[in-house]
Symmetry: C2
Subunit: 356 residues, 2 copies
DNA sequence: TTGCGCTCCGAAACCGGTTTCGGTTAGCGT
DNA sequence: ACGCTAACCGAAACCGGTTTCGGAGCGCAA
């Protein structure tokens, strides 16, 4: 249809006005008479005028763009939440016609350099980062750069910035309590590297709940492995090789839990019956696991929209520390959690039931 | 560290030069003496100068940005490929410091309006679209807009633009042939709405292979349903309710195949034994299905990079029709494909064998 | 009639870069 | 000594918008 986009200049020329006048007319300035304003607006969408955003943003001094820093994955299976998050973010931003950029770096150093370029070059007015480390160098950098940002997750000291997180600590307390309620006492933890704050949080919840239930923490029952299904499988194999293997396992993520199920099935045992497993994330494909994976679920779709709204209001000048949202996970029982089988653990069960 | 970004003006002032000179020095013009060029460059990265991209792009008249139009999903389980694609795209674009924008629309009309705004406002210099319909209105719009683009997938008439696709037709021929080789003859197809070209392609392959093996096509053996795991389950239930249910099913995607497995298990049958199932996509989580899903796999990570490179060279002036890449899927045998079981279907089976 | 204020629009500066054009200086040959 | 050329840099236009400032035109009251 239209070859070249129509600029403000040609629109003004066609109307016999100056560009300044046309611009003000379109932007609803009140020093323009209603009749010319209408005339301008009509001509504008007759000619299909779209203001050049690059020029507009340069003039405004605001990029009207935010960037999502895609997390690096060890396993390709761990990615489904990205699309949902992007969708939610886009939804929030589109209300103001802001743009959503995505950036992906191979290494941590590269990522820092990229962040620096991104904000120093004025391309973005805000950042969203996922899955921070305990002490994440990106956050200090962004703070130094004085660029508005929100974090999907938290770091060790999360007081002075905005974040949206799910309470992993509380979730694992609930998971462990649930298992204890089912009669389990030998509960193990399959975790991810503790440089990730979320991994630490969930481990904390696990330990707190164990202690709270009068159970003892065994070093061998805490297995840290690569954050992937393979990692979950390896960790679980370690557990099953123990002289006294656990009767239940809580996993730091659904992905790792999938690996745990594989390891268990491999030995001819059936998850949820011979040994219980609870994951974390509530990913949809858990329903198709073997057997369907019980998990601590969370409202994923919500996160993107909330993060987007938070970031926008911070850019508007809000105090970042006012935007800290802790969501609660809920237990989604499917088929991998079950009562302790009396047949094979005998006396131990009765002891525990007395305790409760 | 640095509060406000340093502009070309202050850099020039500090050097006692004009902005034009500094700009040319940094951009390697040869009408600048080597000594001042070095002096400028040194000062530039001493002061941490980063050219304002918004201004630069306005001046250049090129947005140096491409946009990926996120597909709309009926089921949240179908999204894992998005993150991989974005990663690949970003990788290709970052070689030139181009930006990657993502856009998501709720409805088709909205999407068209968004595309129009996106290119008419000069924000993007290229587009990537996924999973086109047979006759996709987006493509005509983008062509009218004269905006460079590449398609991840194809439409019914795909001669006049650039695309990257996997040969779904050939893949389903291979899948059906494989099943026939295992002794199956009553092979059904679980598909997605035929408005999607990929759904039609795969159906074509299925039908061609059936005919090619001397098998007859039955209307009831072709079940079209919603493109989701639930859809796959519903379709499979229809098939299993048939007076003469199929002994093997090929599914248009892994997601739908997961639903098929669920329906089969629901009736106490075991996939890969009582009835064979082959999916399509090769998604990682298929290994954790019950049982592990056999599928037509494809090199996912490759797609993003290729699409990015293609788009870039088209923007550089290449003929789009020179960039049409058809990838080949390969059979990934896991546990849901198996030989036809004569033993357990009793009379029904013998009937069937007579018919054949 | 003069003066005042209000309405409405034109002119121009500005955002931060890029690029063209022209002029100064130095170096060279004769 | 003169002129010519080449090397080097300054000045200014430009990209396409936004926004401030000032002035023309008008109505109204003194």
């Amino acid at each position: 249809m239209s070859a070249k986009p129509v600029s403000l200049k040609v629109l003004a020329a066609r109307l016999g006005l100056t560009v300044g006048t046309v611009s003000r007319a379109l932007n609803g300035y009140k020093d323009i008479s209603p009749v010319t304003r209408d005339r301008v607006k009509r001509a504008a969408d007759e000619m299909g005028y779209r203001p050049n955003q690059t020029a507009r943003r340069l003039s405004l001094g605001a990029p009207e763009t935010v960037c999502y820093l895609m997390p690096r994955y060890s396993s390709s299976i761990a990615q489904p939440f990205v699309a949902q998050l992007l969708q939610g973010l886009g939804e929030a931003l589109s209300k103001r016609n802001w743009d959503l950029l995505v950036s992906h770096a191979e290494s941590s150093k590269e990522e820092l350099a990229q962040i620096d370029r991104l904000v120093r070059s004025g391309r973005v007015g805000g950042l969203v980062i996922s899955r921070p480390l305990k002490n994440d160098p990106r956050i200090r950098l962004i703070q130094d750069l004085k660029c508005p940002f929100v974090v999907h997750g938290r770091t060790a000291s999360s007081d002075d910035y905005a974040w949206y997180d799910v309470d992993g600590d509380a979730a694992f307390v609930e998971a462990v309590n649930h298992l204890v309620g089912l009669g389990h006492g030998d509960i193990a933890f399959v975790g991810a590297p503790l440089q990730y704050q979320f991994a630490q949080d969930r481990l904390n919840g696990y330990e707190r709940a164990m202690l709270g239930n009068g159970l003892t923490l065994t070093r061998e029952y805490t297995q840290i492995a690569d954050f992937s299904d393979e990692g979950g499988e390896i960790a679980t194999n370690m557990l099953l090789d123990l002289p006294k293997p656990p009767t239940a396992i809580v996993c730091v993520s659904d992905t790792m839990a999938l690996g745990a199920l594989a390891a268990i099935r491999e030995r001819g045992m059936v998850p949820g019956q011979d040994i219980s497993v609870i994951g974390y994330d509530g990913l949809k494909f858990g329903t198709h696991a073997n057997p369907p994976l019980s998990t601590m679920a969370q409202p994923q779709a919500h996160a993107g929209r909330r993060l987007g709204d938070m970031l926008l209001s911070i850019i508007d000048g809000d105090d970042p520390t006012k935007h800290q949202e802790l969501q609660r996970a809920y237990l989604l029982r499917r088929k991998t959690d079950g009562p302790l089988h009396l047949a094979e653990a005998g006396s131990i069960v009765s002891e525990r039931e007395e305790l409760q």
